[in-house]
């Protein structure tokens, strides 16, 4: 079931009404109902994968219980290690088996050995990367005694499978999210209103911006060998906007839905394209994944309170894993490693000037220095996106070569024709700029009539952009 489908709208209305009007006084029943609803939501794609998720969750629940029962440090560590390894094997089999098998076969072939194809026909279950990380997070938090394991299996299953964040995040840490399932949720008007704003802005980003840019980016990437470099640059720009609109749109909708059910999610995006450096970009892009890696991998490895070489090694490991987490393809690995390389200046030559919390802090406009920093950061991010978008490394390199060698024509029809998205992109960034210090970009401090008028305008834009006959999938579903 896709957020941008009519059937989801109907599903959500039913769940919301039953949740608040029938079950509002009973937390356990609410959790059970959320669990059933999440199973319907997930099973809509393929009900067979519910078994996988169920087994994974059961294992996660049991490991928390076992860790808690053991007092011996080494036994606790052993159970934690088994849990992590088992979860990673589970994820690895479904997501990476074919990737490693074919890469290994290619490696053997290049060294002169002839190998038969030993890949398997494995379907990647949607959301596996997300719910596996939730399970690992639970085991680690219990091990660290930052979270008391729950004996309420329904609450645990509801936490793992909670439909707004099940298939594309945000990746919630168990210590932050599970306790919310154990207490009574009260309907709160300001929270619900903010939730609706998150949802509206999320739909705008997904349907109007991401889907609109996606069509153009796809058209350009699919014909890059014949396009002038001006169009190729435009293609990268559109993909950068598409992936931001798509992914942040999804998580905004998820956060909004969570709020409507009385839950608080971690913020996942905070105007990342207004970043002035690569480290700042990663503090604003996919925040939940970054903080997951920071808390569970980077800091245990020593973080940055070590020698610069070790700090770089830690960064490298985190970004290598982050790239691999995104998909079983060398393009994602290179994408991740490239960010590790881009981090080098901030490790070895840290900027001594204190960075303000956000660009143009306390002012309407940014300084010239900030604008230059922003442009450089965005350009570097775009370079990395080419690897992310391309089907293979060869394709990515060919794309770069085409940018460098093809003529630069600004009057080309293929350059001028896709420019109709620009006013909408401008609208997106104008609103984001105005509210760059806020969590929800639609928390506008305008008078009610203007605000409502603007909301209606956005709704019409969404309605006149949505494809009612075929909803487009979210890019991050494949991860």
């Amino acid at each position: 079931m896709l957020f941008n489908s009519f059937v989801f709208l109907l599903f959500f209305c039913i769940v919301f009404i039953v949740y608040w009007f029938v079950l509002s006084q009973r937390v356990r029943l609410q959790n059970l109902f959320l669990l059933i609803s999440s199973c319907v939501f997930y099973g809509w794609w393929d009900y067979r994968f519910l078994i996988l998720m169920g087994l994974s969750s059961l294992f996660g629940f049991a490991s928390g219980y076992w860790i808690e029962r053991r007092t011996d440090h080494w036994q606790r560590k052993l159970i934690l290690s088994i849990t992590i390894v088992a979860n990673l094997l589970f994820l690895g089999f479904f997501k990476y088996y074919n990737f490693f098998a074919s890469s290994f076969a290619e490696l053997l072939t290049t060294t002169g050995f002839r190998v038969d194809d030993f890949t398997l026909k494995i379907i990647l279950p949607i959301g596996i990367s997300f719910y596996t990380f939730h399970n690992i997070s639970y085991a680690i938090d219990v091990y660290r005694k930052e979270l008391k394991p729950t004996g309420d299996i329904i609450a645990y299953f509801a936490f793992i499978s909670f439909f707004p964040q099940l298939v594309a995040g945000p990746i919630m840490k168990a210590k932050d999210f599970l306790p919310q399932f154990l207490v009574k949720r009260n309907f709160n008007y300001p929270g619900a209103v903010q939730g609706l704003r998150f949802i509206l802005w999320g739909y705008f980003k997904k349907i109007v911006i991401a889907d609109g840019c996606g069509v153009l980016a796809d058209a350009i990437f699919n014909t890059y060998s014949t396009q002038p470099s001006s169009v190729l640059l435009l293609g990268v720009f559109y993909f950068a906007i598409q992936i931001y609109g798509d992914f942040s749109g999804y998580t905004d909708i998820a956060i909004g839905l969570g709020k409507l059910f009385g839950f608080e999610f971690t913020l996942n995006f905070k105007t990342p394209y207004f970043s002035r450096s690569i480290p700042e970009f990663w503090r604003r892009w996919h925040i939940s994944l970054t903080s997951w890696f920071r808390d569970y991998i980077y800091i245990p490895l020593g973080g940055n309170r070590v020698s610069k070489a070790i700090a770089f090694r830690n960064i490298f490991i985190v970004f290598f894993l982050s790239g691999l987490w995104h998909g079983a393809n060398w393009t994602y690995v290179v994408w991740g490693v490239l960010y590790a390389v881009l981090y080098i200046p901030s490790i070895f030559f840290p900027d001594k000037t204190k960075l303000t919390p956000y660009i143009g802090y306390g002012k309407v406009w940014p300084s010239i220095r900030e604008v230059i920093q922003l442009i450089i950061t965005f350009a570097l991010v775009c370079v990395a996106w080419v690897f992310f978008r391309s089907a293979s490394l060869t394709e990515a390199l060919r794309y770069f070569k085409a940018i460098a060698t093809h003529p630069f024509k600004l009057s080309d029809y293929y350059f001028l024709s896709p420019l109709h998205m620009m006013p909408l992109i401008l609208l997106l960034f104008t609103i984001e700029w105005i509210n760059r210090d806020k969590d929800c970009q639609l928390d506008l401090s305008w008078s009610k009539s203007i605000r409502w008028g603007f909301y209606m305008f956005l709704i019409y834009l969404i309605f006149f952009s949505i494809n009612f006959h075929k909803a487009t999938e979210f890019i991050y579903f494949q991860f």
Partner: protein, 319 residues
């Protein structure tokens, strides 16, 4: 919760009022402006034509009656307003709109078995999205009522703008605002409305594994028959002559012989009832040659030209 419900209700009411006004604006705009240069839209915006005849039907008219050639041979002035995959209901709606602004003396209407079981004969027999600006006009509204699912009809009737929103790819405001940035492409002859099919690779459809299995039963849909009669009545009201034709089919592939006979009997009854002039090309044996077909239901350019010459000869007696 109460506050949320009240505010949501107020918002919905305001949105309803605004949508109603926008819907009026959309209707006024798209009645006369068609950003999408489809054959249907090309026909709908025409005005001031004074013609001797028009041909109407599905792709079997659109691609198989070479109107420029027919005009030359008959020394008449005609137009082909046939559109792909369209049922009689669709033809009727188009004809209603076309005759409001144009004057025609005769209608050449195609009739074959596909026309009388349109829901299985065509993938999208009534192109509901094409007539949205005329949705509330009585005649067209009735066509919608008869041809779209009830729930859809009520949604489009009751929720302003919903009919444009559902088909937003055809009613893009952007394409108007951006001065039609999409370059319209008309594949058909824009002087007479015909599109000839150049594909001569006729042998590919004769592979036995691609031939449809024909059942020996005749299936007639009441709705198609109803709209067949409505077309005839409309023409009579306008003082137009109706000439019924059956464009060629590659009969070896498409029909079970017993079925064909049954359909012909049925059609003969309709012709008698309506007292129509009828020209049947199904039995012209010289046209039953695979070289003249692109597929089982369409002639290629060569077949179309031969067939149009036959038609011209026959029509001379009836014009």
């Amino acid at each position: 919760m109460k506050r949320l419900i009240i505010n949501s209700a107020v918002f919905v009411v305001l949105a309803y009022i605004l949508s109603t006004m926008l819907s009026w604006g959309y209707t006024a705009l798209f009645k006369n402006y068609k950003p999408d240069q489809s054959k249907k839209n090309w026909t709908l915006v025409r005005k001031g034509d004074t013609l001797d005849y028009i041909t109407i039907g599905s792709s079997r008219v659109f691609h198989m009656v070479d109107v420029p050639l027919l005009n030359t041979l008959t020394n008449k002035k005609g137009l082909n307003i046939g559109t792909s995959g369209s049922s009689y209901a669709d033809n009727y709606a188009l004809l209603v709109k076309y005759l409001e602004r144009n004057k025609v003396q005769a209608l050449i209407l195609n009739a074959d078995e596909l026309c009388f079981h349109s829901t299985t004969g065509y993938t999208y027999p009534f192109k509901d999205y094409e007539y949205m600006p005329y949705f509330f006009e009585d005649t067209i509204n009735q066509v919608y009522k008869d041809n779209v699912p009830k729930w859809k009809y009520y949604v489009w009737s009751g929720i302003p703008l919903s009919r444009y929103i559902e088909f937003n790819e055809h009613y893009e405001l952007g394409s108007v605002l951006w001065l039609n940035a999409k370059k319209p492409v008309c594949k058909f002859d824009t002087t007479a409305g015909t599109e000839l099919l150049y594909d001569m690779n006729y042998k590919k459809f004769l592979r036995t594994d691609t031939l449809p299995v024909q059942k020996d039963t005749l299936h007639i849909e009441q709705r198609d028959e109803l709209y067949f009669h409505k077309i005839i009545s409309l023409c009579r009201e306008k003082g137009m002559k109706v000439i019924l034709i059956t464009t060629p089919l590659f009969t070896k592939g498409i029909y079970a012989p017993a079925n064909r006979a049954k359909f012909q009997q049925y059609l003969d009854r309709l012709i008698r009832e309506e007292k129509l002039t009828y020209i049947n090309f199904m039995d012209v044996t010289s046209l039953q040659d695979v070289r003249y077909f692109r597929d089982m239901t369409h002639t290629n350019i060569e077949g179309t030209r031969i067939y149009t010459r036959y038609l011209a000869r026959q029509l001379k007696d009836h014009f």
